[in-house]
Assembly symmetry: C2
DNA sequence: CCTATTAATCGTAATATTGCGATTAATATG
DNA sequence: CATATTAATCGCAATATTACGATTAATAGG
């Protein structure tokens, strides 16, 4: 079955998987980077910057939004997207927590 | 098409996407955590710890291995898996680099 | 040599993702 | 009001992922 089994995963595990999934496609990483690099929010400029169709970009933005990584504000006819800094920091922290143990104990055995 | 378009993504973008994809499933996050928590490498114990079939666990391990996050050493009949600490640190650093700009500029606009 | 044990791989089915064109809804502008 | 512009959504096709049982290959132990 394609669906992931409904198993008792911890909140942290689910959170990490959710954030990771959002970043699991280079196009979404590129979009996120664009949103970060531009100081002010860019809107549909992403379509011009990347060689991807408008509908596809919109879909990727939707996924980034659902993962909570970005926010969108209506601004006239266009929509202004930008990064949710707090969420990004939180995501980074959760990941750091998971990796922390491994960083503390350099080489385990292999 | 399900395949991602072959587009000029940067090395960093592709790396992040690759690592993120490896962590984009809670089962793989759980497996990675198990490998980190146990000081010594555990082998097939993962199957006992998680409510997932052996073949499925093997598949997840393969993906973590292909992403370069874990290593596997043959140890008799069983195989000893463990985390590649250096790679994890590198992955974390690359991610931090991407998020750094966003953390420096707190709220952009929305 | 025979038999467990361990873990990879194969085959298959169900579902998810990706990508795009076309359409739609909403706001701006003349 | 008519018309552009912007971005979401729908529908579809191609492909990827997930999960599992069954099988296979390899080693350990008697």
């Amino acid at each position: 079955m394609g669906a992931s089994k409904i198993i008792n995963y911890s909140e942290a595990e689910l959170q990490i998987a959710k954030f990771a999934k959002a970043l699991s496609h280079p196009a979404r990483v590129a979009i996120l980077q664009l949103l970060i690099q531009k100081q002010s929010c860019i809107c549909g400029d992403i379509v011009d910057e990347l060689p991807i169709a408008q509908s596809t970009v919109s879909q990727h933005l939707k996924e980034l939004k659902q993962a909570g990584l970005i926010k969108g504000n209506i601004d006239g006819a266009s929509i202004c997207y930008c990064v949710d800094t707090e969420v990004l920091q939180t995501a980074n922290q959760i990941l750091n927590n998971v990796l922390a143990v491994s960083i503390l104990t350099p080489t385990s055995c292999c």
